[in-house]
Symmetry: D2
Amino acid sequence: MDYQQLTDDLHIKFKDEIDKGKVATYIPELKKVNPNKFGINLYTVSCESYGAGDFQDKFSIQSISKVLALTYALKLVGNKLWKRVDVEPSGDPFNSLVQLEFEKGIPRNPLINSGALVVSDILISKLKNPKTEFLAFVRKLANNKQINYNKDVVASEKAYGYKNAAHVNLMKSFKNIKNNVDEVLDFYYHMCSIEMSCEELSRTYLLFANGGKLTYNDERIISRGRTKRINAIMQLCGLYDEAGEFSFRVGLPGKSGVGGGIVAIHPGKYCISVWSPKLNKKGNSFKGFQVLELFTTRTESSIF
Amino acid sequence: MDYQQLTDDLHIKFKDEIDKGKVATYIPELKKVNPNKFGINLYTVSCESYGAGDFQDKFSIQSISKVLALTYALKLVGNKLWKRVDVEPSGDPFNSLVQLEFEKGIPRNPLINSGALVVSDILISKLKNPKTEFLAFVRKLANNKQINYNKDVVASEKAYGYKNAAHVNLMKSFKNIKNNVDEVLDFYYHMCSIEMSCEELSRTYLLFANGGKLTYNDERIISRGRTKRINAIMQLCGLYDEAGEFSFRVGLPGKSGVGGGIVAIHPGKYCISVWSPKLNKKGNSFKGFQVLELFTTRTESSIF
Amino acid sequence: MDYQQLTDDLHIKFKDEIDKGKVATYIPELKKVNPNKFGINLYTVSCESYGAGDFQDKFSIQSISKVLALTYALKLVGNKLWKRVDVEPSGDPFNSLVQLEFEKGIPRNPLINSGALVVSDILISKLKNPKTEFLAFVRKLANNKQINYNKDVVASEKAYGYKNAAHVNLMKSFKNIKNNVDEVLDFYYHMCSIEMSCEELSRTYLLFANGGKLTYNDERIISRGRTKRINAIMQLCGLYDEAGEFSFRVGLPGKSGVGGGIVAIHPGKYCISVWSPKLNKKGNSFKGFQVLELFTTRTESSIF
Amino acid sequence: MDYQQLTDDLHIKFKDEIDKGKVATYIPELKKVNPNKFGINLYTVSCESYGAGDFQDKFSIQSISKVLALTYALKLVGNKLWKRVDVEPSGDPFNSLVQLEFEKGIPRNPLINSGALVVSDILISKLKNPKTEFLAFVRKLANNKQINYNKDVVASEKAYGYKNAAHVNLMKSFKNIKNNVDEVLDFYYHMCSIEMSCEELSRTYLLFANGGKLTYNDERIISRGRTKRINAIMQLCGLYDEAGEFSFRVGLPGKSGVGGGIVAIHPGKYCISVWSPKLNKKGNSFKGFQVLELFTTRTESSIF
């Protein structure tokens, strides 16, 4: 398989197609991005990188970073984490708060906002300097010291994040948040503000295609068993209310963010990232989803 | 009808009956109250007062004060208020947040927490010194300068009020809260912390039995039409998820609070208050409910 | 008060006003009605009748008859009925089935469809010839042997009544329906198909303004206490998701039907009926609601 | 890997372990089964069969057959099917009906009851003799003419299937059921009543491990692409409210039934079936789940 050729082909094919998506507007800072940005990058476990378009431009990875927070929290507290967060798909967004209320403050999974807020709470409890240490962890996975939070995005999210504040307060009322709610929100917004390029993203998430080991120095970050479980969670819960559609059409574990990025993992083989800021109605990158569908069709690389 | 005799009889009858209720525990400060306190007071529109038991002891009127906040807000902004709060019963508590989410941040009525938070927000927007001016308004209705907030109760509620914080943040996300969420919560907790005795309570709410005029000086506070509407709202929404049961068994508009008080209005005739801190499963005074039921049965004074 | 003058005035005032409502379409047979029909009738407890417009034309009273079924069932089984149906408002329609599921097959009140289906089930269990005996009961209250079921409406409802079938089957799964589901639905559709004119309707429901006694022969049908309770239930649950608005603006207990009828009761004084087939968005007669609001404003006859 | 040894080991290990599950009681006929039955069978795509315990005893496969109905319907109508059923996980059971109501009669996926009822409706529309032809289809996949419906189970389910009747009537009210509701329920209960042994089950579902072709004669039943999609749906929706847990712990697409069977697919490799009638709280075979977890751990054969 000539991955470079395929990556280029996909970029050319989708570059000029009409994009029916819309850039996310609820975080004002994200509206500033150029809506026509479009990058693709594939990283194989043998560390070959194939990119096309704007694959080296940084963007806000947003919810994609929830997988990294989960990984770090699992490393720190192990399976105790599952007492405070479940591993089931969340169904759909219309009842996110009622579900949380019905299930007494236990989020459905660690990749929805409420779940990631609990994961943030765990990291705060375990780390001395949560924001610094989390960033160091991400940089290590990325093998890149240039990964940073974007303070403008943090400020922008805080100023409009009333729904997240509702979730964290509701969970606090059920005693499933241990730290101060403002501190939890601050950490959470920092985590979501991390910026990476497609290439950095693929490289960082290669860990999950590589059984939990860093490819660049063979260091084990998490066990093979936990890696599989994180992939299973991405498969079931990684694309909001479109996880089924993504499994159905793409057939790989993945995670999306409102910044327009999507990352997908083929265990044992590769990690692929796409970035295109306009989102479909379910909040996932309109083009990104299509690129990945065609990619797995062409490469016949679904896990199913 | 010899009201004094009846009031005494009811007090004697229920004083030593087994109270299956439980004192509210979610506001620590409220747990300090003597659970055996029990008072009854009836105030007629001709300003005769009949009391029994602890009817002159002050207690935390809690949600009962929501009716006063609503009255003041209606006086200040008129029917515009109904664009931000509905007048329908809330169904049941299990879905309070989903309902608010489904209905885009518009609370079902002004007597549930979310509705009273919007009313608080309106008062903050309209008043220069909201807490001072609201207290002055209540004192005027009560014809009593000794009515006060209880700062310990305010502090106690704030420290545990995460669910209210969830509601106010959710409404803020729908832009139905205009002021700072902490300021809204601060006002709301002050409003709920007002203390009155049964006698003061009856006297204050006599306004709603008297067509909107103060009995002691004949001053009109709100129009006759609005008074009827406030009574209608109490009838449908005044006793949480037991409004139907209360209408069914007592047959008068009323409002309860977790401090164990209940006030009921017979338009054109009287206002009656009962206080007994132990609550039934729906959060209403166990004895208070029964006293009122027997009272209206004996006096045949249902509005229906 | 010159009731005839007022009734005529209201008829004239509203006759030519633009009617923003729409005739119900989900029961095909009901679409055949002339949408411009408009009648008003007031019946006092002293048996004076004041009518205007089409007040002697028969129409399908639909859900209004649920009050009569409830009355009959209460007469037959007494308070045991409340073990199978609650007396609380239902909140709103979007969650009717989930509420029933959440509350294990116990309907919120006897005036929503699920509650009336349970009441139907009770009548079937208690009566030898349920449909015949129920009709006889209604004719007695109406003092009129010309009251009948409309078989075409029954057939039309059956052919489209899948949602009612869903409700009754769900309750059967919770064992809150004792008889065969088809039999229950058959009785229910007959009950809803009863036809009356405004005048017949007011006359029949005068029972609830007259403390439970027939006005024409002074026979007691139900106790004064139960009459009050039925009125209380109408107040809280009689106008679907607009019960609050109706209490707020009209201020009387009432019941509406999708045929465009609304009946309202002033305890001790009168019963008033309005018929105009076009319905507002909540399913209540658009003009009927407004006529009643203006009527109680003019007569200052709210119960609050 | 010595699969026979492993299968035997797992059978011995779990045979005498305490089974905390309970046999399903809501279908009376299913209660008659011996609760200690326990069988395991693995079938590889190269047609080797490894069995242990009661792997040749027939049992009621129940919901497992929904996958076969889906396969047949996809074969007959293709992607048009997805206009009437979605492919998203259903979240949790507490809101199955409200979700269906909220989403206007479109079931979340074809493996929950409502979805399988729509699939049944499609088969009825497309087949002349639906029950006969569906059975013939199953026998062909199984390469076995001894596969049959169990009429006693059909009768038993019908007599207690009020909740399914509620679902199908609700969908009919949204026009997402085209045929007579009783006919749809009759087909659905037949489909669920199919009996197979573990060995027959593995053999039948080998189709999904073999890219859509029958192993015994290489005939293509469905395309490779559709096979992947069916596997993806099983992964996300195959174990009721425990799909996440199953993905997390077992890591293979699978489907369970209340008869105590679970089948799991490793694409390209094998199909494994376990049968043990006692169910955990989520309705999945208590032992079956554990056997599969240990099996994939020992064989390191998760797809993730």
